[in-house]
């Protein structure tokens, strides 16, 4: 089987229906490798900024990437914000920390970014990101003033744009051939995914690739989306459309290719995420693992997936989202080459493998360039934490 297809051949093959549930062939061997850096950072205090500055230097510096460019930084403010993990703050468990966002914005500005737009589609709301941030007792100005020309946009809906931007999946897609997103994802020259180091109930992990999932507008892909055209306002979550295919996206958007495909989230979500990362490529992936949570942001009440606020004290960044997530998985004590049936992908396919198949990047650590301390020195074993909590619960 020929595997080293040119892009033209690949597109032609996809057009003939070669890509359906899983590619009969893969672009894995043609996928680009990446440069990833890992750093210890125990707190969000004074050590954070120099650590991040050094990490970006290890990636070759931000100047070449962002100078004179418009940059979109997709942060992770997902989940129902009124539901915290006990008294722990959202930024210490499930959300990108405001200081990591602020430091990123500052360093992007320092490297010459012309305009920086912080973007996110928070759960089921059209509120401005400034309002979402205020509701968590953060100060929007801490981010807006971190560099020149910084702005926020809630990408759950049309926002400040006049129309949605269409992103087609190279090769034709696995589930959807393309996606309609807020204009901010097209306006940017450089796209940054600023994620949190987390597990996920449906996809095993949620890192820089899964973070892009939150770019999809609720007005098209939400449970309350318009049937024919996008709704004006976002209502509901994305589960009805994306997790379980209970309803279609608004008809104005590209529709599912094959309705006989499985409807379980463990099949659908990894493919949708890989498609999104192929359609809207990530140029810089940053993963905040200073403080976070085990057990996924929504564990669906599973006693086998206990949640706990933890302090791995690590940051990860890279120029390729598949490679960066592979390193992050290793830091979490998982095998990045794992696939369905092996933790963390007990009930799902690996979005990393699917991303590799779509030619986004490679998950084999030996093929990527990794800077910083050896991963073995920064491992924070999520399985071990889970076992410890379960054992303690068993003891009563």
């Amino acid at each position: 089987m020929k595997t080293d297809l040119t892009r033209r051949e690949w597109l032609a093959g996809a057009g003939a229906g070669a890509l359906v549930a899983r590619p009969a062939w893969s672009l894995a061997s043609a996928a680009p490798t990446g440069r990833v850096t890992v750093a210890r950072c125990k707190t969000y205090g004074p050590e954070l900024f120099p650590t991040m500055e050094k990490m970006f230097d290890q990636l070759g510096g931000l100047g070449g990437l962002v100078k004179g460019k418009t940059v979109a930084v997709k942060v992770n403010l997902i989940g129902v914000r009124w539901q915290r993990l006990g008294t722990a703050k959202m930024e210490d468990t499930f959300w990108s920390h405001p200081r990591v966002i602020g430091a990123t914005v500052h360093l992007l500005g320092k490297a010459g970014a012309r305009r920086i737009r912080v973007v996110e589609g928070p759960w089921s709301t059209a509120e401005t990101l400034g309002e979402v941030i205020l509701s968590m007792n953060w100060q929007p100005q801490d981010i807006l003033n971190a560099a020149a020309n910084v702005e926020f946009e809630n990408t759950n809906y049309l926002g400040q744009g006049k129309k949605y931007s269409r992103f087609m999946v190279p090769g034709g897609g696995l589930i959807y051939p393309g996606y309609d997103l807020n204009h901010s994802y097209e306006d940017c020259d450089v796209f940054v995914s600023l994620a949190k180091l987390k597990e996920h109930a449906a996809t095993g992990v949620t890192l820089s690739m899964k973070n892009v999932y939150g770019a999809t507008p609720i007005t098209i892909y939400g449970e309350g989306a318009g049937v024919d055209e996008p709704s004006t306002r976002p209502h509901g979550g994305r589960g009805g459309v994306f997790h379980f295919a209970r309803r279609l996206p608004s008809k104005s958007a590209p529709q599912q290719k094959d309705f006989t495909l499985p409807k379980d989230a463990g099949f659908r979500l990894p493919r949708i995420i890989a498609e999104l990362c192929a359609a809207r490529p990530v140029h810089l992936a940053i993963i905040d693992g200073v403080r976070t949570a085990t057990g996924a942001e929504t564990n669906y009440g599973s006693p086998n997936r206990p949640q706990a606020a933890v302090n791995p004290g690590v940051l990860i960044a890279g120029t390729n989202c598949v490679a960066t997530d592979a390193v992050a998985m290793s830091v979490m004590g998982f095998n990045p080459m794992a696939d369905r049936g092996t933790p963390p992908f007990a009930n799902s396919d690996s979005m990393l493998r699917l991303g590799e198949d779509l030619g986004i990047g490679v998950r084999d650590l030996s093929r990527n360039e990794i800077a910083g301390p050896p991963i073995a020195e920064v491992v924070f074993d999520y399985n071990a934490v889970r076992e410890k909590i379960l054992a303690a619960a068993k003891k009563g």
Binding site: W82, T87, A126, E131, L134, N137, L158, G224, G236, G237
Partner: protein, 329 residues
């Protein structure tokens, strides 16, 4: 479950009791409703019915389900226990008669006659405002012209009929002085000049002196979107309280006549404790805070945890049905 809020629907008489209190201030409302005819209710359902009314200063005309009545008559062992619990919670509220002297407080005032179609809009707004955790006050339109609007951030004038000239003048003066006045689409000849606003908002904004006039764009707006936009325009920057980890809970925020004491009534409509206790953010921490509840033997002091961004948080033990945080400045 409400997909917009990701919060469960709750079955409360709070909105009606708010309106009753506003239309007949100083009087005790009695509310009568029967339990479902079939099935046997848990004791907690009775406790909730008592607490839901009592929190708003009202009384429930106790009505027992058929099974409980039969069990009491037949002397079934569990039945007196349920009855004793009902009596105990009634006694608790007798001992904590706050509602007579305390009044609901919050930066938003809802003004209406609550008549005809305005009842529907007003009642639904009062149902939804607690679900989005927005503290508010309610006033009968007939009393608004003579009332003080001092300390308010916003007023929501509900009625389709424009206010009488004197009230309109007073409402506009409130906005001119820095407040936000929310009005329905029927507001004739809106004052002020158009001001920029987020495109999704159901209200068009007009600059008015130091404040704003927000005119609804639709004749029949979605009630949830309407109250959500009222909160969005008011901004979370001004939140007095925020409630976390209590999806099935509503709260009622009240203040004493002198303003030195405040109470937060917490009603848990699931009738069982959540996995975490409720967590409150309070913008202006008080000197003391304690939890009172028929579910605990004696009041429990609560600790203020100062927040880096200002304000403080109060972590409250888990409650099944009702508790109140009593705060003193």
């Amino acid at each position: 479950m409400d997909s917009a809020l990701n919060l469960p629907w709750v079955d409360s008489n709070g909105a009606v009791l708010h309106i009753a209190r506003a239309l007949a201030p100083g009087k005790v409302a009695w509310i009568g409703f029967d339990p479902p005819r079939e099935g046997k209710l848990a004791a907690e359902s009775y406790l909730l019915a008592v607490a839901d009314a009592a929190s708003y200063g009202a009384k429930w005309v106790i009505s027992l389900d058929d099974q409980l009545r039969a069990d009491l008559t037949a002397g079934q062992p569990a039945a007196p226990d349920t009855w004793k619990k009902i009596i105990a919670v009634l006694a608790f509220f007798e001992q904590h008669k706050l509602a007579g002297t305390y009044q609901p407080t919050g930066p938003l005032l809802v003004v209406s006659n609550f008549v005809g179609p305005d009842w529907d809009v007003g009642e639904e707004a009062l149902n939804l405002l607690p679900r989005i955790r927005q503290p508010f006050q309610v006033m009968a339109r007939s009393r608004a012209a003579g009332a003080s609007f001092a300390g308010l951030q916003a007023i929501f004038y509900v009625d389709r009929e424009p206010p009488e000239p004197g009230l309109r003048q007073k409402l506009i003066a409130f906005a001119n002085g820095g407040g936000i006045l929310f009005v329905p689409s029927k507001w004739p000849n809106p004052e002020g000049a158009p001001a920029p606003a987020e495109p999704y908002l159901l209200f068009s904004l007009r600059a008015l002196g130091k404040g704003r006039l927000a005119v609804c764009k639709h004749d029949q707006p979605d009630p949830y979107d309407m109250v959500a936009d009222i909160q969005n325009i008011m901004s979370h920057r001004n939140d007095l309280l925020r409630l976390y980890n209590a999806p099935s809970m509503n709260f009622l925020y009240e203040t004493s006549a002198q303003g030195r004491k405040e109470v937060i009534h917490m009603l848990n409509y699931s009738r069982r404790p959540a996995s975490d206790g409720p967590l409150f953010y309070v913008k202006e921490p008080h000197r003391s805070a304690r939890l009172v509840s028929p579910e605990i033997a004696s009041p429990a002091d609560l600790q203020w945890v100062p927040q880096e961004g200002g304000g403080a948080e109060l972590s409250v033990p888990r409650i099944s049905v009702y508790g109140a945080i009593e705060m003193e400045k």
